[in-house]
Amino acid sequence: MPLHIIACVKQVPDPEAPASALKVDEAAKKVVPAPGVASVISQFDALAVEAALRVKDVIADAKITVVSMGPAEARDVIKHSLAMGGDEGVLLTDNAFDNGDSYTTALVLSKAIQKIGDFDLLLFGRQATDWDAGVVGYGVAELLGIPSVSIAKAVTVQDGKVVVERVLMEGYDTVEAPLPCAITVSNELGEPRYPKLQQIMQAARKQVSVWSAADLGLDASQVGAQGTRMVLERLYQPVSEVECEVMEGETPDEKAQKLAQRLRDEKVI
């Protein structure tokens, strides 16, 4: 039985697009990217795929399925993940999925994972680089009733369990968990590998299944705009203003004293 790893990836508008290219429609509470903004794979999700590949580098008898929930274009990020070395892809696309929240996303993904069946390891990016909520991975684990380990910088599978190095402020923890298990991956893992051209070309031939809400046994009321449990109050671009106050003084000592006093007044220190 090959070790079955499922990596979940999300397609997002380029987080590095110039700020001027992303507009917020406050009335509709939506982000409107300018036409030129590219759609890319969420950075941490690419690392989730990389983590899966590193496990497969060691345990050759492993299979990696890449799953993404999104519009039809999200097929591109699945293809990219397959080019990196994933074996099969699953695209979950349905208008009913639109305008959901982290919960509905976790629900859809968990249903898809159950449909795929028999998995050993789930890998997610720690957060998506558009909304940065950072909870879907744990949500899926919860819905599936399996343990989860967060913010991994290294993932290895040994003797039927997973060993994870978790990032801490001052260093890292080493955590062991039984399989099946869900793990969220952080950028400390390193760089996602660059696919060889042959792999890119071959990715086109790999199987990508496309499932709708009905295929997952879900109806519109459970997902998307109807199923969301989060209420978005307001969406806006904060205006940042920088005021710079320069401390006056005859000597550096005097300026430093004044600065300290000023910070005290502002209750910073």
């Binding site: 380029d14 590095e16 697009a17 110039p18 700020a19 001027s20 290219a21 300018a34 036409p35 030129g36 590219a38 890319v40 794979i41 760089e191 590998r193 660059y194 696919p195 060889k196 051209l197 042959q198 890119i200 070309m201």
Partner: protein
Amino acid sequence: MAPANEFPGNIFFYLIILGFGAFFALTVIMRLIPFFQAKRVSRLDHLPERVRDFFLVMMAQSKFFRRKYWYSGILHVFIFWGFMVLLIRSLNLLLDGVSGEISLQHLLGNVYTGWRPVMDLFNVLVIVGVSMGAFQRAFIKPERITINRDGWTIISLIFLLMVTDVLGNSLEIFLERGGKDYFSFFAFGVANLWDRVGLGVGTAEAAHTVFWFSHLVILFAFLDYLPYSKHSHVLTVAFNVFFRSSEPTGVLQPIDIEGIMERAEEGATFGVAKVTDFSWKQMLDFLTCTECGRCQSNCPAYLTQKELSPKAIQHAGRLALLANTPTMSSILRLSPSLPRTDGEPPRPIDTMGFDSIWDCVTCGSCQYWCPVMIEHVPTIMDVRRFLVMDEAQMPETAQAALMQIEQRGHPWRGTTFTRSDWMEGLEVSLFDGSQEYLLWVGCSGSLSERNVPITQALAKLLIQGGVSFGVLGEEEPCCGDPARRLGNEYLFQMQAQQAIEIMNAKGVKKILTACPHGYNVFRNEYKQFGGNFEVVHHSQLLAQLVKEGKLRPKQGEEQTIVYHDSCYLARHNDIADAPRQVLASLPRARVVEMERSRKTTFCCGAGGGHMWVEESKGQHINHARTEEAIGTGAGVVATACPFCIQMFEDGIPALEPDEEKRMRALDIAELLETAVAVKTEDMIGASDINLSMGGDEVAPSP
């Protein structure tokens, strides 16, 4: 008349010829085997130019008449022309050995006798040349040449050939076998010596036989030794010059990606994985390299203490090639030592090395200086393509740049500009087929902070000069050049095809660009994918507008400007006068030159994708060039390339911490715009533009 005409001489004669001849023939056959396994390329185009260059470069030795290596130039011209001239003597020797009836002396009579003084003169010149060479190896020892036993063997063999020739000739004159040859001054002088010492006829005849046979043996030994020596160019250079690429030097050839995918099962690779993936011409290059080192001494990577030496690359190619060539037997051990191979022969990447392959900035200086027309850059790039596309092995910074182009459609990660921000406040319209030129702004021209003011200055000049042009705006893709230079041919082809499609759909016929890399790609490489456009560099158009009086530079402060030639403009595409004409038109500006200028310009360091790749070690190439520019004492360095100017903007503060004393770096468009002082109600001067969307800084005032 020859000592070989009668027994036992004739036995020796035929034994020598057959023995050495067979050895030579076998060697050549073995050496040719990998050539038949190599990639096929056709080099039969432009035949008149090939014939012309054969005479110019090889027969007339044009590449040796450059001041930089004048000493070697003289000695080589002596030796080579001597070799050509004395071929007649060798031929005569062979024919005479068979029978006096068919010797050239007999058949051509006085014509041959008339040629003898010329050959005699060249006997002397070759000896002079060889002596100059020996002196160079023994005492001058320039760093570029390889001083080894092989080199000394060649020098000795040539010297001995000349000595036996002269002595044999002198004895023929002495014995009056050659007729009254008074005009072979040197040989005649030696003949007089024999007279003076009272040499007996018997001794003279014996001595003549000795020298005659010695010359024959040394001649054949030399021939047989050649393939095993770094001097093998003697046998290959005629072909190497004739079959050189007729395209401009900045051009790289496309790969048939689909075709290779189909043959992937058989082990086909996109780049060069094994030595037989090279073309026969590239293999010929390896065998033609004489290790003179001119390439190395002019390579910006080598000169800044990096791993890369173009000479070492050729040598490494030769090693890989020889490891894939059957050998007569390893007993002979005449060839330079081969790497020991247990099993698989070494691949080019093994002999050349990862760092060397990535150090190359594709400036083409190596090819400019190479006297035997070796094409170093495509060979390096073919291995780079293997590393990137087949192995996905590249420096992190290169990988990041390629990912940027793939995902974002441009290499400038972190830019806060959009492609149309620069247009704000300018009367620039989108290209709709009605305008004469498409102004291709480029990723650098629109997204890189330093280059936006240059694009704006150019646009203002074009408007002022009444030029009909339009832009693609947000629709403009990346031309793909960085992808190709970084080795990702697949990504390049996708970008190129996309760009060509867009341009053809809009009916673009003429492209105007301020970027030499874009110029090179559009003019010389897009035709590989069906994109045929007329391409103009902004320096050419600006020079023309000034000449026609449509732009009138009328104001300017006194300043000294040094012009830096971009490799892709001056060396690869022969554009060096136009930018200078623009600078010459600036009132009260004095233009100075660096020593390394025009075709010999020194790279700014950003070529070959290195705008985005960290240098491996050593001095920064751009610091070296900035140093040279500062050394002229000029207050301004002028460029005509978006990469070059960024390299100077980085190098200048690094070398001069005091802001007051710093040299300024400016594009010729910025300099001209200041002089023309474009000012209309609709246009805003560059110094007034506040790029509030793009950043907090105001554009530097020219």
